[in-house]
Subunit: 369 residues, 2 copies
Amino acid sequence: MAKVKISDVAREAGVSLGTVSNALNHPEKLRPETLKLINETISRLGYLPNQSARQLAGGATKSFGLVLPRLDHGFSLQIASGAHNEARKHGYDLLIANADNDDILEDHYLRYFMGTQMSGVMVQPMASPDWHPAMTKMPVPIVHLDIHCSEPGYYVAADNEAQGRIIAELAIARGAHHIVVVGRAAFMQLTLRVLGIHKALALHPDIKIEVIDAGEWNTAADGYGIGAQIAERPADERPDFVVGLTDVLASGVVSALVDKGISVPGQVRVAGCDGNPLAWSGSVPLTTVAPPGYEIGRKGVQLLMEQIENKAPAKIKHIRVGSAVRTVTAVAAEDINRQELVRPFLLERASTQASSQTDATAINLGAYL
Amino acid sequence: MAKVKISDVAREAGVSLGTVSNALNHPEKLRPETLKLINETISRLGYLPNQSARQLAGGATKSFGLVLPRLDHGFSLQIASGAHNEARKHGYDLLIANADNDDILEDHYLRYFMGTQMSGVMVQPMASPDWHPAMTKMPVPIVHLDIHCSEPGYYVAADNEAQGRIIAELAIARGAHHIVVVGRAAFMQLTLRVLGIHKALALHPDIKIEVIDAGEWNTAADGYGIGAQIAERPADERPDFVVGLTDVLASGVVSALVDKGISVPGQVRVAGCDGNPLAWSGSVPLTTVAPPGYEIGRKGVQLLMEQIENKAPAKIKHIRVGSAVRTVTAVAAEDINRQELVRPFLLERASTQASSQTDATAINLGAYL
DNA sequence: GCTTGTACTTGAAACGCATCAAAGGGGCCG
DNA sequence: CGGCCCCTTTGATGCGTTTCAAGTACAAGC
């Protein structure tokens, strides 16, 4: 099992070491018959180039690293899918690491990728990346996804404030008088959603708004608890519109309301954020504001490419992409899955319309349902 | 943006190059104050070890590569999840590459990982790995997942033949008289399922069996087409049990039957294979035979570890794990998702009972539903 | 004061490859 | 036949580490 190296191939083929190297990296420089001879020797000997050595000798390879917080979240997968396709389009490899919701691990993989002579690295960070000052003076281009970071950093993110605004406007359009926002704004993203809601409602002082903390983890159970509490209120104190800061929360709320005999959306409308089809387990159709993960992954790679090709800081350092309003049923959720995950280009086509370097817009994907 | 290297740290800290290296790799060899000094210098300078160089100089690093055909398939994610947890348990990193259903890309990433001085590589191959003879004499341990390969190779796979047997026995237990198997046996896995069905039914010559090809890609649409055809048959030529070789096919069949006014499971029972919750879009509860992806990923890493630690071919080279029979509804599918993907240890606990070095068993996860 | 031992530290060698200046070979022209 | 140029091949050099034999400093024991 002794590894065969380039010098073995050279000796065996009766050429020099540099020629074999050329056969691998600059085949056009070789005479066809030499190339053929070398290639045959390579496959006869089962030679595999040592990537570490070639990276060491030759500088960065054409590959990107992507650190995700989890793999089982549809949104992260959309990011991965978009990043993958865009990377391949430019001839780059994409390697993915699963940080498993663990700060330490996230940092670990990030450093790993940095040190592997990757051409660029992307993260969908769990916390704000500002905690680590070294991040900003990294030796390789790095782009943050789905999160806003301080000035020197690059990011591609959905405009969470706009999401809040969109959902508030939705509530207004549906004639809401009393809105309850459910969830703990544990992350920046959620805080911004709340902010967006407040800003949009500032113009409508007649609409009553309440924000209810849902417990540390924003679980479906937390949502259920609050839903139950809402259900038990006298009818005139009950909201007519509930916003879950995440779809998981919203789904909990819906379950509770339905269980307590309150009609959704008859008596109370419920909307969520995330566009997370897996959260919708009931048969009640629900509305969600969905950030375009595929597009975020794609733009992330584009940002990387720009830095690489121009050898200079890109002109555009921050990209905010719009979100889509969707009405989702349990059945339609499957369709979304197929369209976004199995055939992501469908989403791509739709959401590029909503992409913008400056601000977010809402588009309607209703045609898909 | 000039990268700071180990010699810079050494110079800056006033120690030698080897000492800095020791600080990184064998901290116990250093005097505490030296270690502290070096660590401070490292973070002051923002030094990041060059992974390529350390791999080159030091041999394999503690990391595994995993090549998956797609990321958006729940089963692959279960594999990734199981592999990740097991790898971390041993202190190894796991890097994932998405082959995007592309042979060439699969091969590409495989070679990439091989050449990166990974400690081991796993693949969930699209085709039988026998096509590439070089595979068998690879310089690093390699384990195939979810597929059987010829003698010299290592693999962990669900026993697909057993899956067929299980589903046939299910049909028998439900009193089936006429079974239709839907799908093109394009892959080894599917072929084995059909084989298992036939073997189980060999003991029941009174049961009529039909195998219907579903078109090249085994899509839901293919399933729908066949379902429609079945629906239009006169009642006495209609099967009372349909097996989809994949869940996607089965779901297509169900849609067609329901659309044509045939009751499922009243007039026709339908079962699938894969345990793929995303395929179940309807509200009709359906039965599927589910291979334990999480367990497969886990065992794959264990097989790798065994080869690494013993520095010799592992005693056990093939592991077949059992599958579970589940009854799935659209709502329950969500629960499965949560349990298997978000909290995979639940599945782990359940399926280890079914794991065996020798043959497959069926276990019932009904308690989860 | 000398020896022996212990606890750290040093720096040269090697890891496998890409690069590139230089050498080699062959054809063409004068 | 000599000179020139172009196409192809060569091999020494260095990439940033780890490793390890050799070195240093210091303490304890005699």
